[in-house]
Symmetry: C2
């Protein structure tokens, strides 16, 4: 069996909404790229499956219980030379959560912060993390069209106006409130009414919803 | 730098349409799982990027030029114990092509054949390849809804009836010809008219189309 040795890592594109869509980056405390910004992540352990490694790194980097965070695999990256030490294949994960707190630094990270993805073009991240971050943001933007992923940015119970704010911030666009309300409440499996209302939006009592059962949305493309 | 050693492979879910949706499997010529059916694939070489390894394996296993085949990354799989020899992370790729020929056997494969995916439940493939194959079929089925992926199963120029046959075989369902025609010709970016017609369907002259420019389809979910 002739095969070269690899190391395997997981890297995390962690997205949250603050005043705008933000991604978590950490300043590397060790070589290579010491002192530079990178996505959080680390080596997969000998006895660990890939999703377990991703959830462990997420907990270490954000202090959050994995159960409160949507996490899905993004893609594998393995170009020769992407790590100057040896061949490293990384499996990137996309994690989304509502309004995450300022993170505590992870084990090999000196500092951590949220960076608005709007400023992505001006960032230079270590390794090939620019591309991984861009792929994660693109995945999130695309999936809002055809899945209930936007609800992962909301509290467990949310109003239509709160959901609309998610779409507006992730897509960096304005949506007509009345059309949006009609479309999301008319989309099978997207929303489950709780029967309760809230006035926390500041206006009239608004219905509170939970995420519905659908994994994919047919038909509506909300943007159309 | 404390990290365990891994090997990295690529595995291929190669789908084509014959009388029904079929996947390529090979009988393994070497241990582990010698004599059993598996997805085609192999170790990534020391100087090789992951997509290059996938295209090389595809050419070796099918004899097809990669340019004629749609190929995209499916996902990474790396559970401890999925290979009895050592930790192996595999990056799976999904490849689609129209009416592929019966393949020639690859370097470590004693035999290769197409298996109807309808018979999937009765197949027991080596490693975790049952799951990878099921994930690939599910990806293809889902993407037909929101992308022009179905055109990857067609010749470069195709009729609406030929495209409908793709949807019917992949989804294993019947679609109303008139509704289908209205929806696909009304979907922005899905089809590009060639201005030519054909009678190869056996009926009246039918328009020939090429794939349009769209990467994702908004709005229409054809099944709705």
């Amino acid at each position: 069996m002739d095969h070269p040795p690899f190391a395997v890592t997981v890297d995390l594109v962690v997205l949250t909404l603050r005043d705008e869509l933000c991604a978590l980056v950490v300043r590397r405390g060790i070589e290579p790229y010491a002192g530079e910004w990178a996505l959080p992540g680390g080596f997969v352990r000998a006895d660990e499956d890939l999703p377990d490694a991703a959830r462990r790194e997420l907990a270490e980097e954000t202090g959050l219980a994995p159960g409160s965070v949507h996490i899905e695999q993004l893609a594998g990256y393995g170009a020769p030379g992407r790590d100057p030490r040896l061949r490293v294949v990384t499996i990137a994960y996309l994690a989304l959560a509502p309004d995450l707190p300022v993170p505590s630094a992870g084990t090999d990270a000196a500092e951590a912060r949220w960076v608005p993805v709007r400023a992505l073009a001006a960032e230079r991240l270590a390794f090939d993390h620019d591309r991984i971050l861009a792929d994660g943001v693109e995945r999130a933007r695309a999936k809002l069209e055809y899945s209930p992923l936007a609800t992962a940015f909301c509290a467990p119970e949310f109003t239509v106006a709160e959901l609309r704010r998610v779409y507006e911030l992730v897509w960096d666009t304005r949506l007509d409130p009345r059309n949006f309300h009609r479309k999301v409440t008319g989309t099978a499996g997207l929303l489950a009414p709780t029967g309760r209302t809230t006035t926390r939006d500041g206006g009239r009592p608004a219905q509170l919803y939970r995420r519905g059962e659908a994994e994919l949305l047919y038909p509506p493309m909300l943007r159309s």
